[in-house]
Symmetry: C2
Subunit: 361 residues, 2 copies
């Protein structure tokens, strides 16, 4: 069923206010979610809305957090999210990083005591309009096994880096540190298709092509897939994301990260508070003339786009291209939500007294 | 043939002084090279020494550079390496990053007009003794094709991140953003073995298992190997390394990066000066109490080491483990250089009047 971004934003905003979020924070949280839908990262959009509400019902999410800076230097800080929505805590911390970049060239903020912050790219891209390079990392529910392990010790721990340009659209990397993002698995599950080798392992740690392997006690594999193809690199990148997000801030790390799904309780004996994020902003003119930098970024992008390809029907993409094309398409034609998502949102709306209206007006 | 680290350091130092490097810079450059040999990264050790000398003969390397900071803010800088040895320019820039971290919490230095800087890990690890997290990136000779491309547009563009610990050895990630490092290919070439699929493509862009594919006009593949296994992520990471190292500093980027081998001329119409690096240092106590951080790092490492493995004879490794074990072994038993490397160094020594003495005393 088809919905306009505007309608989904209104709906999610009202849902968040119903659980007690202040209006402006509810709007911000809704904007982060719908931004994921617009960019085609359906797994991180409004499909997750009822998940946040269930966390709130379990007292694992604070609708009225007092977000505090608990430690800082001119270029760094640790922020305590007071168990708020990561969708609100994230932008708060990213703004702090940008402010520090304005003052001393760069800003780096590690966050504890937060919840799931939506797509990593929302936060990194906040830096673009300030002529900064933006960096956004987060740890997440443990679903990934390090190379050689059969335990779930890491999340899909994404890395996003957004870089300003002149006439070209910005360079926006936004990637899970696993071979494939969870959202891609969900697509295969719905179509009853197998997953390629290297995406998943079963509960005993052996490679599986069963796309439902995660539901059967298996885990995701780090980028690379296996040792011979560099999975130790994907594992190490996911580890760095975990450490900068959580060991540096005082959040939970590794297998202690509280799961997003409310029906799984957090690990006993937590090693920190909530989950963790890490944000960075670097002013481009803290390095060289901003216009010069942007012209060279355009040149970089144009050279790579012009690259000769293996097959004539393929082209070399620049990070951010697919998501931007999807956004243009969905702004024009609306966001087509899957039937189970519409059902879930409608039930949530009925329960909290908010109507969901289909149609792309 | 077997050599002590001390002897290789002495030999390389004297070679560098013979081309005019000041004594202290020659010592530093030799230390960076031999550190690679000790860590088992043979492709980046003294085996490269004559390559640097050939660059000097071609006037593509300045033995007496005046390294200058050309732009800076309290937490950032651009350094002009004056076409010096990256082995000297790198540590200079990393020290500047650490100094800024001491002043304002973090320091970020992008470098232009440099040459090959050895192993990325040498520079990131300089931060450890200052209780900083160290970051080291560099671009490199174009050998890697972006996903879907058949051109060589990127280097193996490594990422190194070093993180301090308490009683555990430090966490040291040091990885090429390709599926496999060039050094691993060289091992297969010598043994006349095939490379696994996903490491290389031939000159038409098709996957090849010919370990000598690079010599036949092929290229390396980004981490992931192919689109289905996430090679667009490896490509994007390599791209970020290129941009932070070169677009941000004013060095050459992408296909314009000057090749390390002196017999290939740099591309005409350069887009910048020399090649580029990027360094970062973050003081851990700019985020939280340093001892607290280090205790949690130990806890992180101990939990991952204790992980249940798929096969009982495997264990989960922490980034830096293999290199540290190799260092201990080679400090004890010496560094076994391959015959062609010994021959190459002996000839170099003869030409410049420096004796190379075998044996691990």
């Amino acid at each position: 069923m088809n919905f306009s971004a505007e309608e989904l934003r209104r709906f999610a905003t009202q849902i968040f206010t119903k659980i007690g979020c202040p209006e402006n924070e509810a709007q911000l949280a809704a904007d982060v979610l719908v931004n994921a839908d617009l960019r085609g990262v359906d797994s991180h959009g409004v499909a997750r809305l009822s998940g946040y509400i269930r966390l709130h019902e379990k007292n694992r999410l604070n609708a009225t957090p007092k977000i505090k800076t608990v430690h800082e230097t001119p270029s760094t800080a640790v922020v305590d999210g007071d168990l708020g929505l990561g969708l609100v805590v994230g932008p708060h911390a990213m703004n702090l990083a940008i402010e520090k970049a304005k003052n001393v060239g760069s800003g780096w903020v590690s966050v504890k005591n937060s919840n799931h912050y939506g797509i990593a790219g929302y936060h990194s891209m906040m830096a673009l309009k300030e002529d900064c390079i933006g960096i956004s990392l987060t740890n997440a529910s443990p679903l990934v096994s390090p190379t050689f392990s059969k335990e779930r010790l890491l999340g899909t721990n994404p890395i996003s880096i957004a870089i300003p340009t002149k006439n070209q659209p910005p360079f926006v990397l936004d990637m899970a540190t696993t071979t494939a993002a969870n959202g891609k698995l969900e697509v295969l599950q719905r179509k009853e298709l197998d997953a390629p080798e290297g995406w998943l392992q079963d509960k005993d740690g052996h490679i599986t092509t069963d796309a439902k392997g995660l539901m059967k006690g298996g885990s995701m594999r780090p980028l690379g897939g296996d040792r011979e193809h560099g999975s130790h690199k994907g594992y190490a990148l996911g580890a760095v994301v975990d450490i900068l997000s959580a060991v540096l801030s005082g959040a939970n790390y590794g297998p202690w990260v509280p799961p997003f799904v409310a029906f799984i309780d957090p690990a006993p004996n937590p090693v920190g508070e909530g989950l963790g994020h890490f944000f960075g902003a670097m002013r481009i003119d803290a390095f060289r003339d901003g216009e010069e930098f942007k012209s060279h970024m355009d040149n970089w992008i144009e050279r790579f786009r012009a690259s000769e390809t293996v097959n004539p029907d393929e082209k070399v993409l620049i990070p951010g291209d697919p998501e931007r094309e999807m956004t243009a398409e969905r702004l024009k034609n609306g966001i087509d939500l899957l039937e189970p998502v519409v059902k879930d949102l409608s039930e949530l709306g009925e329960k909290l007294g908010v109507e969901l209206i289909a149609g792309n007006s």
